[in-house]
């Protein structure tokens, strides 16, 4: 006799959705710090740093997320000799993944700040780090916000891949519920709807932010 998909089963999915959100937020916060380093390296004056960042971004954008997860999971196990829990491995893998994508997004934002801003700051004898912190990054931040929110959607969806190494988040919880209720016809669409409920508002927000940005630019041009 199998269970039906009722309220307790739905609550189980909701509880698992919490881990999806926690994982995405954790990777986003840690990835923000690491991604800033990647973006700065990518736009650095030193060729070696630039190439290092190009290689890092290329590696993460040119391989499947699932493989990155396996590599970190088994890589840490092999190199340290201890078998680690899925939690730290998954958190680390998603952080590295987020850092590469955010780094690339922010490289674009930093390079979109007009060259003249650097030159003006230099003419005013501002040191390079002050120029970066007080002149360039504040402007880059504005440009970067819409695509960054867009990436958050990609990150939330991406956490579903963690189900493949047994990490219990929404997708894995859906699989577990299917195993006890034998009702994939109801459960997977419900899982999809829960993801949609998280991702769609973020997508709309990203779109809205982009429109505001465009409006701002249009006003600046036509003043």
């Amino acid at each position: 006799m199998s269970r039906d998909f009722e309220w307790p089963e739905f609550v189980f999915l909701l509880a698992a959705l919490r881990w999806t959100v926690v994982l995405a937020l954790l990777a986003f916060v840690a990835g923000t710090v690491a991604g800033l380093v990647v973006a700065l390296a990518r736009t650095s004056r030193h060729a070696a740093l630039r190439w290092l960042a190009i290689g890092y971004i290329g590696l993460f954008q040119g391989t499947p997320l699932l493989m990155q997860l396996f590599m970190v999971y088994f890589g840490v196990t092999v190199l340290s000799g201890v078998r680690i829990d899925p939690w730290p491995a998954v958190a680390m893998a998603f952080t590295l993944y987020a850092a590469a994508f955010l780094g690339e997004i922010w490289r674009g934002a930093i390079q979109a700040v007009p060259r003249a801003q650097w030159e003006a700051a230099s003419a005013l004898a501002l040191p390079r780090h002050v120029t970066l912190l007080r002149v360039v990054l504040p402007q880059a931040l504005r440009i970067a916000i819409p695509p960054t929110v867009g990436f958050l959607v990609q990150l939330v969806k991406g956490t579903s891949v963690a189900a493949m190494i047994g990490f219990i988040e929404l997708t894995r919880a859906g699989q577990l519920m299917v195993n006890v209720t034998f009702q994939p016809m109801i459960i997977y669409p419900v899982v999809a709807a829960l993801y949609f409920a998280v991702c769609w508002p973020l997508s709309l927000l990203a779109l809205q932010l982009e429109r505001w940005m465009d409006a701002g630019r249009w006003l600046a041009r036509n003043r």
């Binding site: 499947p64 699932l66 493949m164 899982v191």
Partner: protein, 227 residues
Amino acid sequence: MTYVFQFGIVWDHWPRLLGGAWLTLQMSGAALAIGLVLSVLLAFGRRDGPRWVRLLIGGYVEVIRNTPFLVQLFILYFSLPGLGLRLDAAEAALIGMALNFAGYGCEIVRSGMDAVPQGQVEAARALGLSPMRCFRLVVIPQAVRIAWPALASQAVLLMLGSSLISAISVEELTAVTNSLQSTTFRAFEFYFVATAMYLAMALALRLLLDALHWLLFVRGRPAERRE
């Protein structure tokens, strides 16, 4: 405790890995072809269709883009049989990949169409081309040229994303790697090599698409006017 890397064992199983990679490329190629056709049809419907078609396609695009590919595959493979529609793993994977690609491709092609100057359409119509011929001969070629770089990126993402079809037991590169590492206990070596193979395939695909873009749209044409 130190781990001794043994890449020799990967070499022993090289033909199986190559077979997996070949299936990855075949699935991706087929899904790309179907997905591109779907993208154009959806973009056309979303731009010029009646209101209910536009809304329907808009909804489709939002659902595809705001749910994980893995869950989409599960619905196709595990949920649909409940409605009496039983797909085998390869069919579900192919359909899933094509439908997912089309969700993104539709928007890319549509913005490409929007970027074709209206004057081109008016000129073509004034010369007596039927709406269909105008669309096929004037709008589509230019829209594809404009949309190409974004479509190429999406094609690479499609190929990389295909690693997830291993979850519904399609024996492509990731699934082959999974089964090899579980019988040889050399997880790191196998995943390392498989990751490198994906990277090589992604770079090759990118180069191929860039070369095609150059052959089709750049070679022998005057330098484009920049706005």
